[in-house]
Amino acid sequence: MNRRRDNMTNEKHINLMDDEVTSNLVVEDQIARNITELLNDRAQQLKPQQEQRLSAARGLAIDYLAEQQAQLASGNRVSQNGNALRWFGQHLEQHRVTSVALILAVMLLTFFAVQHLSLNNNLENSDAFLLASDLPPEAYADKGFNAWLDSN
C-alpha cells in the first residue's frame, strides 16, 4: 500500500517536472519570438548605402548565375562531343584527387605494358636470329674463328 502511494507520488512529481519543462520551453520560445520580431524591424531600417551595397552584391550573384546558365545552354547546342568534353571537364574539376590518381594509374599501366611488349619483342628477335643462322652459336665465341674465316 505504501509502495503504491510512493509510486503515485513519484508519478505526480515527474508530471509536474514535465509540465515545468514544457512551460519553460514555451516561455523561452515566446521571448525568442518577441526578440526576433524586434530584430526583424531593425533589419528593415538599413542605411541607404548598406541597402545599395547589398543590392549590388545580389546583382553580381544573379548575373553570375545567369551567365553560367546561358553558357551551359549555348554549350548544349554545340554538339554531343562538346557535351562529353564538358562533362569530363566538370568531372575533373569536381573530383580532382580521384582524377589525378586515375590518370597516374593509366600512365603507369601503359608504361609497364610497353616495357613488357618490347622485352618480349627483343627475345623473339634474338631467338629468330639464332635459329636462322648457319653457324652454331659456339662458333662466335671461338677466338680463332675470325682468323680462320679470313684465311679462307
Binding site: A32, N34, T36, R42, L54, L60, Y64, L65
Partner: protein, 204 residues
C-alpha cells in the same frame, strides 16, 4: 536547377537579416557587407545548380563559414598588429583618438517618443546579442531568427541536437537577464522567464 529569379527572390528575402546577423557577429558594418557579398557569390558559383529549396540551408552554412574565415584572418592580423605595435608608440601624428568621434549617433529628434523607445529597446537587444558567446548567438539566430529546426541548426553548426537546444536555452536566458538589467522587464516578454530564473536560482 534554380533560376536567376529564384536566386534573386531568395537573396532579397534573406539579405537584410544576413547582414544584421553578420554585424552582430563581427561588429563591423563594412566587414559584414563584404562577408554577405562573399556568401552570395559563393552560393551562386558553387550551388547555383541546386534547387532553390536548398538555398536557405546552403546559404547559412556558407555565411557561417565565411564568418569563421573572417575571424581566422582577424586573429592572424591582430597577432601581427600586437607584435608590431610593441615596436611603435602612439599614432604618427602624436594625437590620441577621441572615442566619441567614432560613435554613430542617430538623430531621432523628429521621431515620436514611442518609436524612439522602441528603437532604444532594439539597440539594447542588439548590444545584448553582441555580448552573447559566439555559439549561443549562432544557435539563437539560426533557430529563432532564421526559423530553422533543431536538426538543421545542428547540421550548420556541426554539433548535436542537444547542444543546439542547450545553446538556445542559455542564449534566451542570457538575453532576458541582460534586458532585465537594462530595466526592460516590462517589455512584456521577460517577466515569466525572470520568475523562472529566480526560482531556479533559489532551488540551487
Amino acid at each position: 536547377m534554380a533560376t536567376p529569379k529564384e536566386l534573386s527572390d531568395f537573396l532579397v528575402a534573406v539579405e537584410r537579416r544576413a547582414f544584421k546577423q553578420t554585424v552582430y557577429a563581427v561588429r563591423d558594418d563594412h566587414a559584414a557587407l563584404d562577408i554577405v557579398q562573399d556568401a552570395m557569390m559563393k552560393l551562386a558559383e558553387k550551388y547555383g545548380n541546386h534547387p532553390a529549396s536548398e538555398f536557405p540551408m546552403l546559404f547559412q552554412r556558407i555565411l557561417q563559414n565565411t564568418m569563421r574565415d573572417f575571424w581566422r584572418r582577424q586573429k592572424v592580423r591582430n597577432l601581427w598588429t600586437t607584435l608590431l605595435s610593441s615596436f611603435g608608440g602612439n599614432d604618427a601624428d602624436g594625437e590620441e583618438r577621441d572615442p566619441l568621434e567614432t560613435i554613430d549617433v542617430e538623430d531621432d529628434s523628429d521621431e515620436p517618443s514611442a518609436v524612439l523607445a522602441r528603437n532604444q529597446t532594439i539597440q539594447l537587444i542588439e548590444r545584448a546579442l553582441e555580448k552573447l558567446p559566439a555559439r549561443q548567438r549562432q544557435a539563437f539566430v539560426l533557430r529563432y531568427w532564421e526559423e530553422m529546426d533543431v536538426a538543421e541548426t545542428a547540421e550548420i553548426m556541426g554539433c548535436s541536437d542537444g547542444s543546439v537546444k542547450t545553446h538556445c536555452s542559455r542564449a534566451v536566458h542570457a538575453l532576458a537577464l541582460e534586458l532585465k538589467k537594462q530595466g526592460l522587464d516590462k517589455l512584456g516578454l521577460s517577466n515569466a522567464i525572470f520568475d523562472k530564473n529566480s526560482s531556479i536560482k533559489k532551488g540551487d
